[in-house]
């Protein structure tokens, strides 16, 4: 008979690992035996003839051989490790054995040490992302725009999630009282995934248009809306770099679909970068006129 497998897509937060152990034990009782444990999904094989008790340890051992051997000596079978340092172990369940036989941390100090390892990791990463959040807030103040805002939300969500997790995990007793926050974790993960997708889309969809026009001498006004046209895909603040060097007054305008000038300036010499311009969704083109030679550089991002 072919082996029957199933994959469970369930994410557990680090401070909720005891809930994961309970779920693995319950799955084993129902005949689903863990093949590979993971942070976001786990794989099981159907085998109703055995029953295991599970333990998860957060540890990146210096000596993996000695680590696995230490567990094997006490009847623990090593299942697998995740990329980020969580190790799964199981022991065949025997109703005659006392409950302590299924504990891997038998004193408070070692449990605190294990939790402390994760707390240090979470604090390090959480503080780094907190720093990014602050930098992105400053960027948002200097040049407000949606892609920066989306990325700011992602950084802030991960920072808050990790720092909150570190606080919970630091106190082993509180982790038991905070068990019901699986839904909160799902919200955080959703914010992170959607925020990342939004950051990418908002970044790619920006016009990223630039043009350079030079003329030695010219007397006729010119409008070239085919070459000098760009599209704005969503309403936001955009930033213009403009440089004009002309022998006579040069008029530069950005014109929208309705023919309205949304930006205009007239000068012989002009140089400014990062001019904030709010633009709605739609097509825009550049309108320029000058009675003599000029050199004009324009870009919008």
């Amino acid at each position: 008979m072919a082996r029957q497998y199933k994959t469970s897509y369930k994410a557990y937060s680090a401070w909720n690992y005891e809930k994961e152990i309970e779920d693995l034990n319950a799955a084993s009782e129902q005949g689903w035996q863990l093949v590979k444990g993971g942070c976001f999904h786990s794989r099981f094989v159907k085998n109703p003839d055995v029953r295991y008790r599970y333990q998860i340890d957060y540890c990146s051992p210096d000596d993996i051989g000695r680590y696995i051997e230490t567990f094997r000596e006490q009847g623990w079978e090593y299942v697998n490790s995740t990329f980020n340092g969580w190790n799964y172990f199981r022991k065949p369940w025997d109703p005659a054995l006392p409950e302590e036989e299924y504990e891997i941390f038998t004193d408070r100090e070692s449990l605190r040490e294990m939790n402390g390892r994760w707390v240090r990791f979470a604090l390090g990463l959480g503080i780094a992302l907190g720093l990014f959040t602050v930098i992105w807030i400053i960027r948002m103040i200097l040049t407000p725009q949606l892609p920066i805002l989306a990325q700011l939300i992602v950084y802030a969500a991960i920072a808050v999630m990790l720092l909150r997790g570190a606080l919970i995990m630091r106190n082993p007793d509180s982790s038991k009282s905070r068990r019901g926050d699986g839904r909160l974790l799902a919200v955080y993960l959703l914010v992170v995934v959607l925020g990342t997708a939004a950051t990418v889309w908002l970044g790619v969809a920006r016009p990223g248009f630039n043009t350079n026009m030079i003329s030695e001498s010219l007397s006729e006004p010119m409008v070239d809306n085919r070459v000098n046209e760009f599209e704005v895909k969503y309403k936001d603040n955009y930033y213009i770099d403009l440089k004009i060097d002309a022998k006579a007054p040069f008029t530069f305008s950005i014109v929208d679909e309705a023919g309205e000038e949304v930006f205009t300036t007239t000068a012989e010499h002009f140089e400014e970068s990062g001019i904030k311009q709010k633009l709605s969704k739609g097509h825009y083109w550049l309108s320029m006129s000058c009675d003599d030679g000029y050199d004009m550089n324009f870009s919008i991002e």
Binding site: Y67, T70, Q74, E103, I104, F105, T106, S110, L111, M114
Partner: protein, 103 residues
């Protein structure tokens, strides 16, 4: 001399079990249980953490067994520093016990 920190129960029993000779993790666990009449247990996670830390402190070291039948088995051995740390802890515990008897 620097005042030493009180030892955790697991550290204390591991050192105690190694005082008479090298042993492997499972042997330490069984000996601890029988010495303490089943009150003290050392789970695998606790055992790995404690032995790693004590190796870093230089209290114990790892040797390979050369007994026939169990060659290449990993054993832990008490070092001189480990023995000293155990002596200090025993002295501290006896003093505490004596103090209790005085009161």
């Amino acid at each position: 001399m620097k005042k030493s920190e009180p030892m955790s129960e697991s550290y204390y029993y591991i050192l105690l079990c190694l005082a008479k000779g090298a042993n492997h993790g499972y042997g330490i666990m069984q000996m601890t249980e029988s010495l303490s009449g089943g009150d003290v247990k050392i789970g695998s996670g606790t055992m790995y953490g404690a032995t790693s830390n004590m190796m870093k402190k230089g209290w114990i070291c790892e040797i390979m067994s050369d007994e026939p039948g169990v060659e290449r088995r990993r054993l832990y051995k008490l070092t001189e520093e480990g023995r000293e740390a155990l002596r200090t802890e025993i002295a501290r515990l006896s003093r505490m016990l004596e103090n209790a008897q005085e009161v």
